[in-house]
Amino acid sequence: MNNWNYAESKESEKIVSIEKKYGHFIGGDFISPNSKKYLDTISPSTEEVLSSISIGNEKDVDFAVQSAKEGLKQWEKTSPSERSKYLFKLARLIQERSREFAVLESLDGGKPIKESRDFDLPQVAQNFFYYAGWADKINLAWGDQRTQPYGVVGQIIPWNFPLLMLSWKVAPALASGNTVVLKPAETTPLTALLFAELCDEVGLPKGVFNLITGDGTTGSHLVNHKDIRKIAFTGSTSVGKYIQKSLAGRDVGLTLELGGKAANIVYNDASLDEAVEGVVNGIFFNQGHVCCAGSRLLVQEDIHDEFIKKLEKRMQMLRVGDPLDKNTDIGAINSKDQLDKITQLVNEGVKDGGELFQIECELPKNGYWFKPSLFTSVQANYKIATEEIFGPVLTTLTFRTPEEAVEIANNTEYGLSAGIWTEKGSKILWTADRLEAGVIWANTFNKFDPASPFGGYKESGFGREGGRHGLLSYLKDSS
């Protein structure tokens, strides 16, 4: 049991002001929904209702797309260097109001303030800053290849990194000369709504950025709108496949960033203490609500017992609780639905015969919580070893040889990310060459940077976000 008592160190909620009700942001204004329907967005750590957001129906979506079409005319007239300056200004404003955004993100989504403050927000600002600089250099990015923007782009983002995913989508799209209709996740719309205010503040031409809130039906209207030229989606593989099917036979660009079941391979010659830290960060970062989370621990058989012992000890140090407490490592599960899904998969894992370790800790009475969990004695065919859990649950498998590690790691339809832990350089390169994954972390995990392309192999989707390669997701060949 962890006996270290920390004094509570709570970030004040006073910095944010949340409206009772929000409309869509279309054509530079907040407008009431045609649907006249709203849904509540709650704080998953208290279950308290924070606000009501509009549910976009077909007409709302159409209005937003028409606005983006009008916006495109303005954006085309805006010179690349002017576009660049708008994005730089957005980056600066985000930096200035970063604390406000961070608190809002933690309130609405349940992630610990130390992550929203020290990871999400700095990355968001940097991402706008990075792509701002590309806006007037698009012609340099890919040699003599002639490209053009798609036009009106529909973007659908998930609830795990709400504002960060917005920045991954919006910054490169605008930098490449497109205009945007963005739909944030229904459980985490508040930071996107605050971002919309910033677009107004920097004087971004009306219609260049449009925001439509709602649930899956709103997203579906966006995908099926006849004037959309490209869809960029981040979310589950099943919804990704549905979108790909919906777009069949239509001349609409598509990039998908879908699920994962990343292997985190720990060789017996790894620096074990560093690997423990990396494995913990790999799966418990953001409550495990991470598509590239290192959710399958592959540990070499001869160090299994020693490694698991160290891992359990380290896990016990994790502090679960109020997302706004600066000491919190693990915040709230994003929604009741997600909590139910995690609980069900974990129960199945136990039923299948997996050995479950959960840390000893007290969970708050209200809100949605799940104890950091570790499965050992797992067979490769258990659901917990194959399905994406998207929660703080790590599944352990063992291997004897590097060949076997690679085989197990690749034995999944996913291919988003992977981790390698060894002190031997040649073994890193040998393993990295053979892993079927878009991002590979060697002796580190869950590192992100606007300059670094991110995206998957196989059924984890296609297209890249970040870096020079991320531009290609928003440019089409015009040769």
Binding site: G143, K241, D449, S452, Y457
Partner: protein, 275 residues
């Protein structure tokens, strides 16, 4: 003396084979009619199985080696230039057009041969991340590619429908219908150029017979459509393909760096720097 007439067969796994169905269709040239294998669903599955193996073998070779194999193909065609010119003429092209087309095809092959060991220097790079990390993005071939080659009677267009994928390391199943003879003739020179078995395969027939299976086969990682096909076919391919998040490209670029981008997957590797 009676002339000996050639029997054209599919080219799969480095072998010339008939359709297992025994079915054929007719292709009429100026003076002659040929019976061509009508590829069945089973033939397609066989081709995919071999292409999967071919992908492994093609990828084991060094870029230098692959580059030389492609270059050898240009040498083979140069040596048999007259027979290609005559065949294209039989397809209705003028002598001059035929000659120009073969020369263009040779130039195309030489260009792709030369890009094999260079493209990755153009598509990959170090990423200047904000931190003490070595971070590099490089590319890998996507894998088994199904290519619908152009409807144009042209050797140059034909080679442009598989070279972009081959030059980055994908294995290819190249499909032709009315231009089947040209493709099957080319397969003979391919066969003499040291390509590993299964790395490049030519099958012929009616695309409508196999469109659902191409879309639905999970081992076909990518479909590149260089021909004009109906929107109905594209829809079927995409709907079936979505189940395995298949990469489907309609009319990808056929020149320059842009032509190879559909066939590569970007892998980014991070490592901390430290003492």
């Amino acid at each position: 003396m009676t002339e000996v007439k050639k029997t054209y067969k599919n080219y799969v796994n480095g072998k010339f084979v008939r359709s297992e169905s025994g079915k054929v269709y007719s292709v009429n040239l100026k003076n002659e009619k040929f019976e061509i294998p009508l590829t069945s669903k089973k033939d397609l599955r066989d081709a995919v199985t071999h292409s999967k193996e071919g992908f492994k073998h093609w990828n084991k070779l060094t870029m230098y080696n692959r580059s030389q194999i492609l270059y050898r193909l240009s040498e083979m065609i140069e040596g048999n230039k007259d027979s290609y010119i005559s065949l294209l003429h039989q397809h209705g092209l003028s002598k001059n057009e035929s000659k120009k087309d073969v020369e263009n095809a040779i130039n195309t092959i030489v260009w792709y041969s030369g890009i094999v060991d260079k493209w990755e220097q153009l598509t990959g790079n170090l990423n200047p991340v904000a931190g003490e990390y070595f971070n590099i993005s490089h590319q890998e071939p996507i894998g088994v590619t199904f290519s619908l080659s152009s409807n144009k009677v042209s050797l140059n267009h034909l080679v442009k429908s598989f070279l972009p994928a081959m030059s980055v390391g994908c294995s290819v199943i190249s499909f032709t219908d009315e231009n089947a003879i040209l493709a099957l003739k080319l397969s003979e020179d391919i066969n003499n150029s040291d390509f590993p078995s299964g790395s490049i395969n030519f099958i012929t027939g009616n695309f409508g017979n196999i469109v659902e299976d191409v879309g639905g086969h999970v081992e076909v990682k990518l479909v590149a459509i260089y021909s004009d096909i109906t929107n109905e076919f594209i829809k079927t391919l995409s709907e079936r393909g979505a189940d395995s998040v298949k990469r489907i490209f309609n009319k990808p670029a056929v020149d320059g760096l842009a032509s190879i981008l559909p066939f590569i997957e970007t892998k980014t590797v991070w490592h901390p720097k430290g003492k």
